[in-house]
Subunit: 725 residues, 2 copies
């Protein structure tokens, strides 16, 4: 492969500019040769001007601190770790600032920093705080080294023309070439993975290749160490995103993975436009950006699998992705996202985005109900997102998601009225906080956060799906059987076989819009077919303050037992055990300014367990959260029918309350022929019958009798109302 | 007394308008005779236009619902309770809307509603859901009846001119006169109190008196049933607010009490300006408004005593108070408060405020460090507020505060960086939520929220101050010994004698600004002098997630005992017991994006208890919150020295962390002559010595030797630094 003359279009501003023959020292990555920009242009658009100001302040503060390149000693969060992170940001920012402003002091600062690294780096061996299989040199894991290089090489690219030949040779020989070599052939076990760690490494090595004019690095990056295409960036693009742009590890890592994908893609586009990388695999990169955004509520990512629940779209990866995505797609919904982010990047794409936003071209981002299939071929289940106004339901019917995956087949989440209401714990981790296991994943990530009981899913005999073996989980994915998105009713139906030997379970989650309700009801039908009697638990991790349990409770007010011994159960304190009555049982809680009643249909032999996390947690590593568990003992087949009803309004300002009690009189369930029928009856006399046929064929017609009433419908779901809508 | 011709100045807009001889049916309360206003005037200022629009929507929604005046059956939060609340708002709003717009439909709606009440009211006896000593007729407590009348009489006043003589006679004879009679002579035990319930009753009766031209009602309202001035509104003004405008029940009830005070005062000003009610007692009403606002952080009231912690300045009482206060004082800081509220009232004062805000006249509200003395004579202790940037410390050294007071002498609260950090539980109550004890105070308000252990104060032998007897508490107030507000150091020192027999304790809370710190340190020195050996507990109710306990812990990971049997201790689960080491012991937690280390100096015989609320709480009535308790056993005199250090930054967006560990090396305490000396030593070598003399005389000079170093200072506090600032 040859490095081609750089083709660069400063999109929108300089769309016609094609520069055929650059100086060999002109930047090849993010900043165009036309820069520096006139000052009035850099200040014309608030988002860009603001980013520029922040970068100036950050770099000037770093400059005042002086060159600090400490010997690497600490794990995540420690002083040397944080200093090296600050340094790569400073290198990147200083490079961009130099390119934008032409102010030489920025270039000189980046140069001095890089020269210090060229002295530090060569003798470094494996990091002293390393744990795990991929130790870095500058950081405790090589992943961070790759991130460092992705940023630093861009900083170098931007200032390279200011350096002497000797300096360039020194930096390339002592720093960039050894780092790219270490990250590729120095750690083949990581570089060859189909995994985000390898994407960072590919991006670092490939971008370094473009800047150094080193074809070998670029080839390795794109096609793997062996250059056979069985690993490397292109193979990662083939396999890591599903056909719908879903990343198998889940939204938190999708976000994280996105940066090396889009940054490297942008570098490829600039240097080898003939590869048409943004059109690769039917435009998978743009799908991935769009899907990332769809996997959020109020700007926060759904915390599926290992995920920090405080992670939002306000993050570097998404600043880059939104700017690059907008430059490629001109989707005006992305401008709204940029406005929510309040931030953009100091690249031509950031400038264009800031300009179009300043000109008022934004449109609401088209958040939608959608099915995101998982797996490179789209056959590893799916994440179904059901949306209605301020309510979003997430059905997690996707595959295992590798080592960061949780044992949560067919689990679900609910957001309503601005709040997370049915929750996923996310990861047990205090990211980069040294006192908590050096900022790494905590032991409770394995003992609690990944376990099935920590999710809103079926647990058999107090064990986790796949016996807690994620590699087994990789071989068995759920099947998404139906996804219906009608104006008043949305349905996700999926099935899981083999999470437990001999057990098959199928779950329908239904978002039902009904008259006179501020928010849709959510119906949950979970049917289990087993081969032998077992204990079935169905946890609901609800968020809010419990107001009323509509069933008798046997409390443990002075001595709370622990619910179990292992698989997450050892972390649950039992507050009370309840017995369901002959009718449906309910639990009401408040969250924010709305009430929620969860209604369950259970046999009288069932138990309802009210518990809280925090047992066997001597280091206070867990957040303390409530959970309700429906428990059936010694059953083979079972059906769990639950209904969540948002109702009423609590106004702390006006001190008024409306409808703090459920408006529903009762819930009934019958099984008829090959369909499940759920009847909801309101206190005001309305009724709604929802029919879910076993057959999920959209064209099949069904006719049954419901009492004396004949019901007929076509497709998986039928809905019948009296006095309704 | 005669009802004088109405004098009204539509301040700012119509300042020169004086109307000497009105029609006898012209409004005498809130709306001037010049109204209706031209539409362009009502829409010119966003805050007023917005309030108008919201009121129109609310009333039109109520009109669509039709006249619903249910027979009173429910306690707080129930449907009939809430309907009557909606109705008084609708009456008030409809009256104002009619006066502003001249649209007759509003007047007709208010008329129909009032006529329905005139039918409902006469036969009503004590409310069926009443509990306690003051049953209402329309509501479970007569307090709500008084509130109803305060609003309804204003609505009536506004539309009276549209009614026939017969309708007026009917409403006055069947509704207003009987209600005013019931609220005054019908419940002398309430009307004669010096208490906010009586203020509401006075306002209701007095405003009704002005509208009905009934001098007797006005006289009763102002001077009590006996008209001797020993009770009634003026006496309440004398006694309920301290000299600094502090209301003894605390900020939550101060806010609540404010509305009848300012609304009735405004009515008095309009009808009897010669009383100069706003100048009464050195302008106590304006002081009270200003003090209410000073008792907030980020717009939320300090939750002292019985208080809902979600109560903010966004509340009807404060909309009225801010508008009336601004009309009287022209304080431009109040305009900023109105902007934060985002709301104003549909009165001439609201219009003026909206206009001045639209014209940009607002200035930041002057939040300050200040001492608010408690008690009518200012001799019942004080609330000391220490402020520095985003940090606010509240030292609650005030009197008992009657039946809503908590047993929390010398307790404190801290807010920092936007978060409540050292907390007060407030009230155990779900206001107006029927499922929770009918929306009333919960049993846990007595068993937990009021108890001393629920506060950051000294607890002796696991009992509460005054043996939990608030009437005893009324007889014994703390003494505020010193209040220092210097640029780098703020101090509150107070003493409490008799909260426990034979025990005297003195506490200094010091806010220390130091170099290289984002927020001040807080030093807490609490000295106890007892007469016999006892157990001393000092709880710290901290908010955040515990990261690190710097002392060995004996955990209870599988079986948490309950800490005690009574006085709040029965509600605490023990997570772990720690033993302090030979040096200081520390606890680090995270809240929001900042870290906090709390450092304690304790003898090795002491215990540190980590506990959580939630024991003996079978109905899930309590929020579950952590607490750290310093415990000394079998001591007579003791000194607790604690230091709270905010440090570092956690950035979830950038995933960066700085200074997650304390920057302080150690804390030392010595007692020398008649002073306490606390030495803080930083890891970087700086030291700070704080000297607190027993003598709080600001003019006294002190000379001691600290090691070899002579120290000299004047006044209660001396501060000495090396390598510092």
């Amino acid at each position: 492969m040859e490095i081609k003359p750089i083709l660069f279009g400063l999109i929108g501003l300089l769309t016609s500019a094609v520069h055929a023959a650059q100086s060999p020292l002109a930047p090849v990555l993010l900043t165009p040769n036309e820069w520096p920009l006139p000052a009035e242009q850099t200040m014309a658009y608030p988002l860009f001007a603001d980013a520029l100001l922040r970068a100036r302040m950050a770099v000037e503060s770093a400059q005042r601190d002086g060159i600090k390149v400490p010997y690497p000693t600490d794990p995540g969060g420690g002083p040397s770790h944080e200093q090296h992170k600050r340094n790569y940001r400073a290198l990147y920012d200083a490079g961009l600032l130099y390119r934008i402003s032409g102010e030489r002091a920025y270039a000189d600062y980046a140069r001095d920093l890089l020269l210090a690294y060229a002295e530090l780096y060569p003798p470094l061996g494996p990091h002293p705080a390393a744990s795990g299989s991929a130790p870095g040199r500058l950081f405790w894991q090589s992943l961070n080294d790759a991130v460092w290089l992705v940023y630093a090489i861009q900083g170098y690219d931007a200032i390279r023309a200011t350096l002497s030949l000797q300096q360039r040779q020194l930096l390339e020989a002592k720093l960039f070439r050894p780092m790219a070599t270490f990250l590729s052939e120095g750690q083949p076990q990581t570089f060859g993975l189909i995994h985000n760690h390898a994407t960072w490494a590919s991006a670092a090595v490939g971008m370094t290749g473009y800047v150094l004019g080193e074809t070998e690095f670029v080839e390795r990056a794109l096609k793997g160490l062996e250059k056979d295409g069985n690993s490397g960036f292109l193979r990662q693009l083939d396999l890591l995103f599903s056909t719908d742009g879903y990343y198998s590890e889940g939204p938190y890592y999708q976000r994280y993975a996105l940066l090396p994908f889009v940054a490297f893609a942008q570098a490829i586009e600039l240097n080898e436009p003939q590869r048409q990388i943004f059109a690769y695999r039917d435009g998978i990169l743009l799908k991935a950006i769009n899907t990332s955004i769809q996997l959020t509520y109020n700007g926060y990512f759904f915390p599926l699998n290992d995920a920090m629940p405080d992670k939002s779209l306000r993050t570097d990866e998404l600043y880059q992705a939104v700017a690059i995505g907008y430059a490629q797609s001109q989707n005006p919904g992305l401008l709204s996202i940029a406005r929510w982010q309040g931030h953009t990047v100091l690249t031509p794409e950031g400038l264009q985005l800031a300009r179009d936003l300043a000109e008022g071209q934004q449109r609401p981002f088209p958040f939608a109900s959608l099915l995101l299939r998982d797996g490179a071929k789209g056959d590893q289940g799916a994440v179904a997102v059901l949306r209605s106004g301020e309510q979003t339901l997430v059905a997690k019917n996707s595959g295992q998601g590798m080592g960061h995956g949780h044992f949560d087949k067919l689990s679900w989440l609910l957001y309503d009225n601005g709040q997370a209401l049915v929750t996923d714990y996310g990861a047990a981790r205090f990211l980069n906080i040294e006192a908590k296991n050096g900022g790494r994943y905590l032991p409770e990530n394995d003992s609690w956060a990944k376990q099935s009981v920590a999710h809103n899913t079926l647990v058999v005999n107090q064990s986790s799906h796949f016996g807690g073996d994620w590699k087994l989980g990789e071989t068995l994915a759920p099947e998404q059987l139906a996804f219906i998105d009608e104006p008043l009713t949305r349905v996700s139906t999926a099935e899981m076989k083999g999470a437990y030997p001999g057990v098959r379970f199928r779950r329908s989650l239904v978002q039902l819009e009904v008259a006179d309700s501020d928010a849709p009801l959510v119906l949950d039908l979970l049917r289990v077919d087993g081969e032998q009697p077992a204990q079935y638990d169905l946890p609901l991790h609800y968020a809010g303050h419990l107001l009323d349990a509509g069933f008798p409770l046997q409390s443990h007010p002075t001595n709370r037992p622990v619910l179990g011994q292992a698989n997450g159960y050892q972390h649950l304190w039992v507050d009370a055990i309840g017995q369901p009555g002959p009718n449906d049982s309910s639990l009401t809680w408040i969250n924010g300014e709305r009430f929620y009643t969860y209604r369950m249909l259970l046999p009288e032999s069932a138990q309802l367990i009210l518990a809280e996390t925090g047992a066997n947690d001597p280091n206070f590593n867990l957040r303390r959260q409530p959970v309700l568990i429906q428990r059936l003992n010694a059953v083979t087949d079972a059906t769990f029918v639950s209904l969540l009803e948002p109702h009423g309004h609590y106004d702390p300002d006006a001190e008024t309350v409306s409808a703090s009690r459920s408006r529903i009189k009762g819930l009934r369930y019958t099984r008829q022929a090959d369909a499940d029928l759920i009847t909801i009856e309101w206190l005001d006399g309305r009724t709604l019958v929802l029919a879910l046929a076993d057959d999920t064929d959209a064209g099949a017609t069904h006719r049954i009798k419901h009492g004396a009433t004949p019901l007929a419908w076509t497709g998986h779901m039928g809905r019948f109302e009296t006095n309704g809508l």
